[in-house]
């Protein structure tokens, strides 16, 4: 059942775009990714108008003091599980607006961020790549979390949770919930 949910979640994430004091550069490039040239709708990704419908928050800009409480409120209004993408250099670190009296230093000053996409502005290609990678990673994380719920001893033994997830699922494995646990009993060493 869990795997079906993961599959469904990874197939059509809906994004909410929020401008937190950006110069518009990242915003037009984010919207551009939805347009016929780049067309991220082919991945099932849609732009949504309200935080209540969104899975991914694409936030741009260095976060001005006026937008910081609004950003937090929008983040809290989103249903779980939610992901946050900081699109652009300003959103990641503050960028050129470092040391401006009315700016925070990026999105992660206010809310937790799952993916940083650099670039001033970030190109639509980078954004698409970022979203796809984020989804792949979040799918793995969700799998690991379910695993930890079922087998708490893995976490207690101190094995990092992402190492406990089997790296390459076998193609001929039966579609049951038992499959990931088999691999989890003997976690493969991960080269770092």
């Amino acid at each position: 059942m869990g795997r079906i949910i993961d599959w469904a979640r990874n197939r059509s994430p809906w994004i909410l775009h929020l401008n937190c004091g950006s110069c518009n550069g990242c915003d037009i490039e984010t919207i551009d990714a939805l347009m016929p040239r780049y067309d991220i709708e082919r991945f099932g990704i849609q732009q949504k108008d309200t935080p209540r419908h969104a899975d991914i928050l694409v936030a741009t800009g260095p976060v001005t003091e006026q937008m910081a409480p609004r950003l937090k409120r929008v983040y809290e209004q989103m249903p779980e599980p939610k992901l946050v993408i900081a699109a652009g250099s300003c959103a990641s670190t503050g960028g050129v607006f470092y040391d401006c009296y009315n700016c925070r230093e990026g999105i992660d000053d206010v809310i937790p961020v799952d993916m940083y996409i650099p670039g001033c502005p970030t190109s639509p290609e980078a954004l698409i790549d970022g979203i796809v990678k984020l989804l792949a990673e979040s799918g793995k994380e969700a799998q690991a979390e379910r695993l930890a719920e079922k087998k708490p001893e893995i976490v207690e033994e101190g094995t990092p949770i992402d190492e406990a997830v089997p790296k390459e699922p076998d193609a001929d494995r039966t579609e049951t919930d038992d499959a990931p646990q088999e691999g989890a009993d003997e976690p493969e060493p991960v080269e770092v």
Partner: protein
Amino acid sequence: MSEKASGTEIPVGPQHPSLKEPANFTLTVDGEVITGAQMKLSYNHRGIEQAVLSKSYIEAIYLLERICGICSHAHTSAFTQGVEELLDLEVPPRARYIRTLIGELERIHSHMLWLGVAGHEIGFDTLWQYAWRDREIVMDLLEEITGNRVHYSINTIGGVREDLTDEHCETILEGMDDLAERIDFYQETVPNEETVRMRCEDVGVVPEDLAREYCAVGAVGRASGVPTDVRKDAPYAAYDDVDFDVITDDRGDLLARTVVRIGEIAQAIRIIRQVAKRIPEGDLKASAKPPQALLAQVPEDDVVSRYEAPRGELIHYVRADGTDTPARVHIRVPTLANWPTVVESLKGSYIADTPIVVAGIDPCISCTSRIGVETDGNHGGENAFDLDELREYGIEWYDDRSDVERPSLDGDERTVSGGTRGDRA
């Protein structure tokens, strides 16, 4: 703007489906009809005018570029033109032609973007997708010439940074042929399309006397019959060498603005074709000296520079104090000049028309977020300052925060602080 009106108040924004940037409108409504509107526009205030004082003139170009991602070339051009006037530099013709070319490509990109957003606001998403698809032609050209899709960074003090090759000129002319075909299609279709007519005709009307009274600029002014265009009135770059028409209309409604903007795209294509064919050979920069040597010569003076941005007349005021950092930079953006007309045209229109009436001036909120000072005291409110009150507020603000260095007008001190900042990086 803040007069009392009875009725229900409806807040719109800062996060709202129809707003791509944060802004807040409080609409007072009587039934479905808007009777009054108040707006808060400072959600994007970042403090650029303060930050630019700690940067040298060269660094300031790249900071000012990031005021707005849609008209980034307009801001850098206005600023560099001002500094060139201070330094008394003669920009070589080839550089002026390249600036004109990039400026016009940017105008096309901005107007196409607006056409798409306007289509989206009236619920005509097909137009949105069409316009943004055709906009990619221009984005590709910009990327090919300057290496960047949005912040072109082509201006520097005394000239431009990148040269235009003959292959570039050929690609530009080919791209313009493709685009001209599409623009003919839009000129034919959009003003005659039933959906557009129903939503735009006689909506958000700004009559000529109102446009003159509120000093509307750009396409808003021109659609109301005020033929202001800095490119004609005070030619800069290469605009006195090229032929183009100022498109005007006398209806003043949203349909007129659509027609004017599409017409301006056609004129921009005409300018770009002339520039690509006639670009003269020559240097790219006025002086071969390194930028530091140029900045050492900045005199103590001030200058006002005007530029016709895609949204209208952009004004940069630069005061120099003889050091390599500016003493004051003030920017009056075209959107700020056009907001009062929005408030007037919102009154009496329907709630459902709010998004398109607001989008009708092509608002750029990241440009607009500067502090406004009212000096005649007629429009008081709790956040209104006159000049003396503002000065007192500023002094108190710095007194309360002893760790923040107070900006000083003393020349020597500023040079020293500029030097230490260089070390930090």
